[in-house]
């Protein structure tokens, strides 16, 4: 029987009511008395030297309150990078300055040159047009390999080259890997591109800055996945505002997918300008502005080689990747192609020798950072494509080849420095074969062929490292932050509870799922528990939501805090019941003396805590509120197997997704409805990457895909119903809930199976020489490949 409340129940989302009735409170819905509007004048060239900016005419225009340029930020910190990667030779990465407004040069289309603050947006926009900017255009650096050539133009004049770092992992394995590949019975090689994407949460970014002169306090309302991180980065590194004078609020946020993790120039600007002008300042991105200022995702160019012995066992893996950083280092950019990518290259397989090389490159493009999956989709894509290609080359069944090489014993220490705690890759593959109805595929293929269509089936596995992350470990790897999380459980006198959590919900349904956990632990009704998040003045601390970490890390903090509550509540109960503490049991919201019918209710105990007339005051304090910080001891390792079935029109190259199935192991699940929704959404984005989405620059660095007219977002007709299953659960061994995280799996696990399916369809027509097509698999690309 499915449960109807608590852990495991598909509780309906309580946040839905406000979203369904138009009463949500998104950042753009916030209007502050006396607010002004800022419009950013952005570079329309990819690379240029700023000779002069003349704002005098603009400053005299009606409604203008202030105009700012890079000169106003001299001596003020730039946007910091939160992760320092050390290269193969033990040197720190090259780390350029990232001014809030451009200083000296513009480095990508969209780089902000000046900011005009006015009484209305229209006035700000009109005045921006009157700013005279003299920019001397410089040759743009767009292609990563060309950027590394001797004599290439440099994005940053003060760096030695456009190379951010040349990273090797594990460097000590390199010689052995080279040797194994040289001596292998078979080597499969694949060169591929992981296409640049734009995350495109439907809510564009917004920032409202406010300053209260009477107490010298600044408030920033912003579309963020992690308000405390923004407070820390902006307060300490950019504007020099101490935390107790800076409040950051991220109210309802309309999707994030990674791109709202980072600290952006516009946030720092509105906070800065509000102080300078003593007026609130509001910025709302247009969608076109989002395309040229939100951090982009992916953009890797990779060569991967898989070595196999004569029995088709994987013996070694070597990859070389060029990873685009864009023009500046976004907050977590350096970590994505390295620690979130190289460490995942073992995938689900017991390949003994692995070497990963990554060259991170500066180009005159928008900065690239984490997008749903962040590094793990790139790892999964190349690995699962090369395994599929190997199976075709060797003439073996791609599923059998995978099964043969599966890791089967846990814990398993990979050659790329991580230890998987649990998993059962055979079980998820068995489940996939069942739910995808692999047995029925041949018949469906015949039906398609009878219509003149080709049909293909593609499968892939994935593993991801979630629950980010053990602080001491990531500290060694270059993180400039801890990655724990925090929760405060505040029990009120009448027994209702407010839980202040550091995780931020922007679609994940924390307001519903988190109370399920606390309700389960206390045996009280979910409706008595409220989640508070997204406001640095209300919650103790928090590193926010990304990396499928909310429940695994912040949820664990919440469990720890609730355990402290239970401990104290039992003390109070034992006093009220005149029994020894060890004999008190808590069940269904009742404290009972074991083996007796003596009991007090939850509400009696909470009331006693706040009205301590009959209370052990000599032993414990009144009140019932506890905080816990939780730092995970390892990553979590969700895994699974995905299957895609496509139909391909050989006349046009058009691919349609006919069926899609996903078998995931997320460990324990708190709310299956929410988990399935997360997987659906991830698959939708993965199909988008595989078939439709592509962020394209021309050779001059002009962004060609800067609106929904040119950037193809997946729409309802582009995707089918998905069959998803998460019944194969091997609980995480090192967090109290046994949960692994489900937010990114769909996006990580789906692109390879789509491409594998298309290659299968094409080869089924006899065109065996078509072994790879780069994403997105647009009709043009597929058709061209088929013409050979």
């Amino acid at each position: 029987m499915p449960k109807d409340s608590g852990i495991g129940a598909a509780s309906k989302r309580r946040e839905d009511v406000r979203f369904l009735t138009g009463t949500g409170n998104y950042t753009d819905d916030i209007n502050v008395y006396g607010q002004t509007y800022v419009y950013f004048l952005r570079s329309d060239v990819a690379h240029g030297r700023i000779n002069n900016i003349d704002t005098s005419a603009a400053a005299a225009m009606e409604g203008v309150v202030g105009i700012f340029t890079g000169a106003d930020f001299e001596g003020i910190g730039g946007l910091p990078c939160g992760w320092q990667v050390t290269d193969r030779f033990g040197e720190a990465m090259q780390e350029p300055a990232h001014p809030v407004l451009a200083q000296g040069k513009v480095r990508h289309v969209g780089d902000p040159i000046a900011a005009v603050v006015a009484e209305s947006l229209q006035q700000a926009r009109d005045a921006a047009e009157a700013i005279e900017v003299d920019i001397e255009e410089l040759p743009a650096v767009v292609d990563m390999k060309a950027a590394l050539e001797e004599g290439s133009a440099k994005v940053h004049d003060d760096l030695t080259s456009n190379l951010c770092y040349d990273w090797g992992f594990v460097e000590d394995n390199k010689a052995a890997v080279d040797e194994a590949i040289k001596n292998a019975a078979h080597v499969t090689t694949l060169e591929l591109v992981n296409n640049r994407l734009v995350a495109n949460p439907m809510e564009p970014r917004v920032a409202v800055g406010e300053y209260n002169r009477s107490n010298d306090e600044s408030t920033l309302y912003t579309t963020s996945q992690n308000p405390h991180v923004i407070r820390l980065l902006m307060g300490a590194f950019v504007l020099g505002i101490p935390e107790h004078k800076l409040r950051v609020v991220a109210p309802d946020v309309g999707g994030g997918f990674g791109t709202k993790i980072f600290h952006y120039a516009e946030e720092a600007f509105v906070t800065f300008a509000a102080r300078k002008l003593n007026r609130p300042v509001k910025w709302t991105a247009s969608r076109s502005e989002a395309f040229m200022s939100d951090a982009h995702g992916r953009d890797h160019v990779t060569k991967i080689e898989l070595a196999l012995d004569a029995d088709n066992n994987f013996t070694a893996l070597r990859t070389e990747t060029y990873a685009n950083m864009g023009a500046y280092l976004s907050t977590f950019a350096p970590s994505v192609p390295t620690w979130l990518h190289g460490t995942l290259m073992a995938g689900n397989y017991k390949t003994p020798l692995i070497y990963v090389n990554v060259k991170a490159v500066f180009t005159n493009t928008v900065p690239v950072d984490a997008y749903r999956g962040a590094g793990r989709p790139e790892a999964t894509y190349q690995l699962e494509r090369v395994v599929d290609k190997a199976a075709r080359e060797l003439g073996v069944d791609p599923i059998a080849l995978r099964r043969q090489n599966f890791i089967s014993e846990f814990p398993y220490a990979t050659p790329v420095a991580v230890e998987y705690d649990t998993g059962d890759y055979f079980a998820t593959m068995d489940k996939l074969e069942e739910i995808a109805d692999l047995a029925g595929f041949e018949a469906r293929r015949k039906e398609s062929e009878a219509k003149g269509m080709l049909r293909g089936l593609g499968v892939n596995c994935y593993i991801e490292a979630c629950g980010i992350a053990p602080s001491n470990l990531v500290g060694q790897l270059g993180a400039r932050a801890g990655l724990y999380d925090a929760a405060t459980v505040r029990v009120n006198a009448t027994g209702s509870i407010s839980v202040m959590v550091g995780a931020h919900s922007h679609g994940q349904g924390h307001e519903t799922a988190f109370p399920q956990v606390v309700a389960d632990m206390l045996g009280i009704d979910e409706s008595m528990i409220e989640i508070v998040h997204g406001d640095s003045s209300k919650i103790p601390f928090g590193m926010g939501t990304y990396g499928s970490r909310s429940l695994a890390v912040c949820g664990s903090a919440m469990v720890k805090a609730t355990e402290k509550i239970i401990k104290k509540a039992k003390k109070i109960a034992s006093h009220l019941l005149e029994a020894s503490e060890g004999d008190i049991e808590l069940k269904d919201g009742q404290f009972t003396v074991a083996g007796t019918d003596k009991s007090v209710a939850w509400g009696d105990v909470t009331l006693a805590a706040y009205v301590p007339h009959n209370y052990p005051l000599e032993d414990i304090e009144p009140g019932l509120e506890e905080t816990a910080f939780y730092d995970p001891s390892n990553f979590t390792y969700p895994s699974g197997a995905y299957c895609c079935e496509v139909e391909l029109d050989p006349e046009t190259g058009r691919v349609t997704i006919e069926r899609f199935a996903a078998a995931d192991d997320f460990g324990n699940v708190v709310n299956p409805m929410i988990v399935e929704g997360q997987v659906h959404g991830g698959i939708g984005q993965g199909i988008g990457q595989a078939l439709l989405e592509n962020c394209v620059y021309d050779s001059e660095g002009q962004l060609l895909s800067a609106s929904y007219m040119d950037y193809a977002m997946p729409r309802a007709e582009d995707v089918p119903f998905y069959v998803v299953d998460h019944s194969c659960a091997t609980p995480c061994t090192h967090n109290p809930l046994g949960v692994k995280g489900c937010g990114e799996a769909g996006a990580i696990g789906s692109p390879p199976s789509v491409v594998n399916a298309v290659i299968d369809a094409i080869q089924s027509s006899g065109k065996k020489d078509v072994t790879h097509i780069d994403m997105p698999l647009s009709p043009q690309r597929v058709w061209a490949a088929m013409q050979g």
Partner: protein, 161 residues
């Protein structure tokens, strides 16, 4: 500035707007009805859909002045006055047809109109009808399912083998 008046969710409202003021700006900024959202600047996403004189309209494509005298329904006017959700709204909650909620007002407005015109649409008809509404969170699965359920169709077998 031209004066204009209209009926929004059954209430007479009036205001002023310049010739280039969009209906969505008038709703959000002048009337402070922020349930209607703006997700793009090229009339592609559908976050801004409202009903104008009985038709589903992208309010970012219509000037406020053109709506002078019109009957407008926004997402704020869909539930019953006592707060009871409409059947489309209720189905979206029951079938988890929303995550971040940003596309949701437009989805609900589009779906509500669809079911008025086509009381029992097929999956393909629904998907086709949503071509002007982008959702980045749900992968559309539960949106399509919710609309089918709202139309009274049995959705228990969807995507179950």
């Amino acid at each position: 500035m031209a004066k204009l008046s209209m009926t929004v969710n059954g209430r007479a409202v009036s205001g002023e707007a310049t010739g280039n003021r969009l209906l969505v700006e008038f709703l959000r900024e002048d009337l402070r009805m922020t349930g209607t959202h703006v997700g793009c600047d090229t009339s592609q996403c559908g976050a801004c859909v409202v009903h104008v004189n009985g038709k589903a309209v992208k309010s970012c494509t219509m000037m406020a002045a053109e709506a002078d005298g019109a009957e407008i329904t926004t997402i704020e006017g869909i539930a019953e006055p006592d707060g009871t959700l409409s059947r489309v709204q209720q189905a979206f909650q029951d079938y988890h047809g929303l995550q971040c909620g940003f596309c949701t007002p437009g989805m609900v407005m589009t779906a509500t109109k669809l079911l008025e015109q086509n009381p029992s649409p097929t999956e393909a008809e629904i998907r086709h009808h949503l071509e002007g509404n982008i959702c980045r969170c749900t992968g559309y699965h539960n949106i399509v399912k919710a609309i089918m359920a709202a139309s009274g169709q049995d959705v228990s077998k969807i995507a179950a083998e």
